[in-house]
C-alpha cells in the first residue's frame, strides 16, 4: 500500500474518532448543565471541556464568555478550531476522498454522507436547538463509520491502519478526559503535578479541602462531608462514565456504588471495557503487528511495553504515584507512538 494512502486512512479514522469524543464530552456537559447546580459549577464544567483539548487560550481570545452557547458554537461549528466537530468531520471526509478507491463504497459513502448531513444540521441550527439529539447523531455516525469499516472492508493493511488511527486517538481522548475530570475534583490526591492543563484550571477549582486521603486508596470527602457532596460525586462520576458509555458497564463490573478509584480502574486498566486505555493499546498493538515492516521494530516495542504496563498495572500503584503524573506520561508515550507510526509507515522514505 502507498504510504500516502496509509497516512490518509490513519487520519481519516483519527478524525472520525475525535469527532465522536468531542460530541461525547459536549453531551455529558450538556446533560450535567440540566441538573440544578450553581452557575459557577456549570461554567466550571464548560471550562473543563475546553481544557481537555488544550484550547482554553484560543477560546478566550475569540469569545467573550463561557456559556453553553459559545462553547457549543466553538466546539461544534468553528472552522478555526481544529478540534471542532466541523473540522474533524471535514478532515475525515477529505482524507476519505483522497483514498476513496481504497475504501469500500459503503465506507466512503458513510463518510461523505456524514459531512453532507452535518452541513444540513448546521443550516438548521440543530446543535443549539436540540444539542442532545445532535450529539447523539455524531456518535451514531461514528458508530456507523466504524461498523461499516469492520463489516465491509477486507482485513488488509488499509483496515489495520484505520484501526490503529481509531484506537490511538481514542486512547488519547480517554486519557485527557480522565485527567481533567479527576483533576477538577481531586487535584491533590490524584497527583500533584498540575501541568499545562491544571495551570489553566486552577482559578476555577473547588477548595482542596473537599478531598482527603485515606490509606493507600483515595476517597472523596463527600462521604463524610454531607449529602450535597455525595450527590455531586455521584453525578460527576456517573457523567464521566456516561461520556464513555461506561455507566452500565461500571454497574455490571463492580455491582457497587460509584467510587472514583474504580472509575479510574475501569477506564485505564480493564481490557474488556472498549474505551479504556488498556483496550485501546491492545488493539493498537495487534494491528501494528499485522503491518510490521523492516523499520518498525522500535515502534512495536514502544507499543508492546505500553500494552504490557496496562495489562499488569494496578490501580492502587497508579494512584500512589499520582494519577495526573501517570496520565501525563501516558499521553507522552501515545504521542511518541503516533510519531513512530508516522515515521515508519506513513511518511514516504527518501529514495
Amino acid at each position: 500500500m502507498l504510504s500516502r494512502t496509509a497516512d490518509h486512512l490513519f487520519w481519516m479514522a483519527r478524525y472520525m474518532e475525535r469527532a465522536e469524543n468531542t460530541a461525547r464530552m459536549l453531551d455529558v456537559n450538556y446533560q450535567m448543565s440540566l441538573l440544578p447546580q450553581s452557575e459557577e459549577a456549570a461554567e466550571r464544567g464548560w471550562r473543563g471541556l475546553l481544557s481537555i483539548n488544550e484550547i482554553s487560550g484560543d477560546f478566550a481570545r475569540r469569545y467573550r464568555e463561557v456559556s453553553p452557547r459559545t462553547v457549543i458554537e466553538y466546539m461544534v461549528n468553528d472552522a478555526a478550531n481544529g478540534s471542532s466537530i466541523r473540522s474533524c468531520l471535514m478532515a475525515a471526509r477529505e482524507n476519505a476522498r483522497a483514498v476513496r478507491g481504497t475504501l469500500t463504497t459503503e465506507v466512503w459513502e458513510t463518510q461523505n454522507q456524514t459531512w453532507l448531513e452535518f452541513q444540513r444540521m448546521i443550516d438548521g441550527d440543530a446543535f443549539q436547538r436540540s444539542p442532545g439529539e445532535a450529539f447523539e447523531w455524531v456518535k451514531f455516525r461514528s458508530h456507523l463509520s466504524r461498523g461499516v469499516t469492520v463489516g465491509t472492508m477486507l482485513q488488509d493493511e488499509a483496515f489495520h491502519f484505520l484501526r490503529i488511527g481509531s484506537f490511538l486517538e481514542r486512547a488519547d481522548n480517554t486519557a485527557r478526559l480522565l485527567d481533567v475530570k479527576f483533576h477538577s475534583v481531586a487535584p491533590d490526591s490524584f497527583g500533584s503535578a498540575p501541568g499545562a492543563i491544571g495551570a489553566r484550571m486552577r482559578g476555577s477549582l473547588p477548595p482542596s479541602s473537599m478531598v482527603q486521603s485515606q490509606g493507600d486508596g483515595v476517597q472523596v470527602q463527600g462521604q463524610e462531608g454531607g449529602g450535597k457532596d455525595v450527590e455531586f460525586d455521584f453525578y460527576h462520576w456517573s457523567a464521566v462514565l456516561r461520556s464513555v458509555s461506561g455507566f452500565e458497564v461500571y454497574r455490571k463490573v463492580y455491582r457497587n456504588v460509584i467510587r472514583p478509584e474504580r472509575v479510574a480502574e475501569l477506564l485505564i486498566l480493564r481490557r474488556d471495557m472498549p474505551r479504556s486505555l488498556a483496550a485501546c493499546m491492545h488493539e493498537v498493538v495487534s494491528n501494528l503487528q499485522r503491518v510490521a515492516n523492516e523499520q518498525s521494530k522500535d515502534t512495536l516495542r514502544l507499543a508492546g511495553r505500553l500494552d504490557a504496563d496496562l495489562q499488569y498495572g494496578r490501580i492502587d500503584e497508579i494512584l500512589a504515584t499520582g494519577l495526573h503524573a501517570y496520565l501525563t506520561q501516558f499521553l507522552e508515550r501515545v504521542n511518541a507512538l503516533g510519531a513512530g507510526v508516522s515515521r515508519d509507515f506513513l511518511v514516504p522514505v527518501a529514495p
Binding site: 502507498l2 504510504s3 471535514m90 477529505e94 476513496r100
Partner: protein, 480 residues
C-alpha cells in the same frame, strides 16, 4: 439555419422506430415521475460523491460541498440502433488505428511528411510535437491507448442524418466514469425500462481498460504493476481517476508517491519501494517530469521521461500524442487513413477550412457569420466563434484575430447538431447532443458499445462541455 435532426422524432414528428419502446413507456408514466426520479438521482450522485471541480470557482462556503459540482444528469436516454453503432465502431477502429500509425510515423520515419500528405512544418513546428520522443520505441507501437472521439450527427438536406467526427482526443480524454455511472443510475431509477429493452451493457469497460494497459507493459515484465497517476483530489476529474483505479483494483498514485532510480520507476509503500511498470497517467505531458518539461511541476516525477525512453515503464497515453489531435492536424485524418491503411474513411470529417491556406482564409473571412471558427490549440469550447450566434462585435474581433495570425485558426460550417428530448425546467424539450465513444488500443482495439452522450442544456446552445453548462445522458446501443 438548416432544419435539425432529432434523434427521437422524424421530420414528420413521428417517433423513430428505435425510440418506440421508450416512447410507449414514457406515456404510461404519471406526470410527476420524472421530477421525482431526478431529485432522487441528485441525492444519490451527491452521496456517492460523483462530482467535478470547477476551475477558478469560488468556494461557496461549503454548503454545496465547496467547489465540487454535480454534472447535470438527464433522465432521457440517447438511443442508437445497433446497426448504426456497428458501422460507427468499424469507423472508430479504423480512425484510431490510423492515428496511432501517424504518431508512430512522425516520431520515426516521417513517411507521411516525406510524401507531402501532411505538411511537415504543421507537424514538426507544432507545440505539441515532442522532439524527446523521436526514435523512442514504445510498447506495441501504440501511443494513444485511450482515445475519446467526439462524434456528432447533423441533418442532411433530405432530412436524414450523418455522423461526423468533430474532434479526436488522444491525450487524456475524460468522461468514461460518467458513462458508467449514468448507466448504473438509470438501472437503479428505471429498472423496468431495462427489462423491456435490449440495451448493450457497458460495465465491463474497466476490465477492457486493465487488459489494454497490461498488454502494453514493457516486454521484460511478466506480471506488470499498473497504476493510475492523478494530479490529486482537487483536479476536476479526480472522481474519475479514483473510480477507475478502484474498479481496476490498482493503486491511485500522485507524483509524490513515485520516484525514479536507475531508470526504473518505484512507488513508496508501507512495505518499502515497489516497481511500477505501466502508468495510466491523467497528468498532461507538460507536468509529467520536472526534469524534462515544466520545472515547476509538482504533479509529476523527476526522471520519468528517462525511465520511459529506456523502455522500463509504459505511459498510457504516450508522451507527444497531442500532435495528432490538434485542430490543425484534424483536416488531414482522412488522408492518413488512406495513406496508412489504404482504406476509405468510414467516418466523415467535418469539412474544414485551414486558415493558413490563403484561399481558405479568404472564404472564411467572407462567411464569418455562417461559420464556426476554432482556435487550433483551444480546448473545452473556449476560444471559439459560433458565427450564427455571435454579435457583430464578436465577429469583427475574430476577423481581426484571423487576419493577424491566420494559422492559429480553422473554420467549419455550422453543423446543426442533432437534438434529443431532454427533461428541462419547462418539461421535455429538444437539446443538442454529441457522443464520445472511448476506444482502447493495446494488443487489440476494443471498446464498449456506445460512449458518453453530452447534452447542451441551454436552449439552442451547441456547447456541450461540462465546464460550460453541459450535462450528460445514458447512451443506449439498442438491439432491435
Amino acid at each position: 439555419m438548416k432544419p435539425g435532426f432529432d434523434e427521437m422524432h422524424d421530420p414528420s414528428g413521428a417517433v423513430r422506430e428505435h425510440y418506440g419502446g421508450y416512447d410507449r413507456w414514457l406515456h404510461e408514466q404519471p406526470p410527476q415521475v420524472m421530477q421525482t426520479r431526478r431529485d432522487e438521482a441528485e441525492v444519490i450522485f451527491r452521496r456517492v460523491g460523483i462530482t467535478f471541480a470547477v476551475y477558478g470557482a469560488k468556494d461557496d462556503g461549503g454548503t454545496n460541498g465547496g467547489t465540487e459540482r454535480l454534472i447535470p444528469f438527464d433522465l432521457i436516454p440517447r438511443v442508437i440502433p445497433a446497426h448504426e453503432w456497428r458501422e460507427m465502431e468499424r469507423g472508430l477502429r479504423q480512425r484510431v488505428t490510423a492515428l496511432n500509425r501517424f504518431i508512430h510515423d512522425v516520431y520515426h520515419g516521417q513517411e507521411i511528411l516525406k510524401a507531402g500528405v501532411v505538411p511537415a512544418d504543421q507537424v514538426l513546428g507544432n507545440a505539441q510535437y515532442r522532439a524527446e520522443m523521436q526514435g523512442v520505441a514504445v510498447a506495441g507501437d501504440i501511443y494513444s491507448h485511450i482515445a475519446g472521439i467526439d462524434i456528432v450527427r447533423a441533418a442532411n438536406p433530405d432530412g436524414s442524418g450523418s455522423y461526423y467526427v468533430l474532434e479526436d482526443n488522444l491525450r487524456v480524454p475524460s468522461g468514461v466514469s460518467y458513462m458508467l455511472e449514468n448507466r448504473k443510475m438509470m438501472m437503479r431509477l428505471f429498472p423496468e425500462l431495462f427489462g423491456r429493452h435490449r440495451v448493450a451493457p457497458v460495465a465491463h469497460y474497466p476490465d477492457l481498460l486493465l487488459e489494454t494497459l497490461r498488454s502494453v507493459a514493457p516486454a521484460a515484465v511478466n506480471d506488470p504493476t499498473v497504476v493510475v497517476l492523478t494530479p490529486g483530489m482537487y483536479n476536476s476529474a479526480y472522481f474519475e481517476h479514483a473510480f477507475l483505479a478502484q474498479q481496476m483494483g490498482i493503486e491511485l498514485v500522485e507524483g509524490q508517491d513515485l520516484y525514479v532510480r536507475d531508470n526504473f520507476v518505484y512507488m513508496r509503500t508501507t512495505q518499502g519501494p515497489k516497481r511500477v511498470d505501466v502508468i495510466y497517467r491523467r497528468v498532461d505531458d507538460d507536468f509529467l517530469d520536472p526534469r524534462a518539461f515544466r520545472a515547476d511541476s509538482t504533479l509529476g516525477c523527476a526522471g520519468l521521461l528517462a525511465a520511459y525512453r529506456a523502455g522500463n515503464v509504459t505511459l498510457a497515453n504516450a508522451i507527444g500524442t497531442g500532435v495528432a489531435d490538434d485542430k490543425s492536424i484534424y483536416p488531414y485524418v482522412p488522408k492518413m487513413i488512406d495513406f496508412y491503411l489504404g482504406e476509405k474513411p468510414i467516418l466523415n470529417n467535418v469539412p474544414t477550412y485551414v486558415c493558413r491556406d490563403p484561399d481558405d482564409l479568404g472564404h472564411v473571412l467572407e462567411h464569418l457569420g455562417e461559420l464556426v471558427v476554432k482556435e487550433v490549440h483551444g480546448a473545452g469550447g473556449y476560444g471559439m466563434l459560433v458565427g450564427p450566434a455571435a454579435t457583430a462585435d464578436e465577429i469583427e474581433r475574430f476577423r481581426g484575430a484571423l487576419q493577424a495570425d491566420p494559422s492559429r485558426y480553422i473554420a467549419q460550417p455550422t453543423l446543426a447538431l442533432s437534438t434529443c428530448p431532454t427533461f428541462v425546467e419547462s418539461g421535455i424539450a429538444p437539446r443538442h447532443i454529441d457522443l464520445r465513444p472511448f476506444v482502447l488500443s493495446g494488443k487489440t482495439v476494443q471498446m464498449v458499445p456506445g460512449g458518453l452522450t453530452r447534452v447542451a442544456l441551454k436552449e439552442g446552445s451547441l456547447v456541450v462541455n461540462s465546464s460550460q453548462g453541459g450535462g450528460t445522458k445514458d447512451t443506449w446501443i439498442l438491439e432491435a
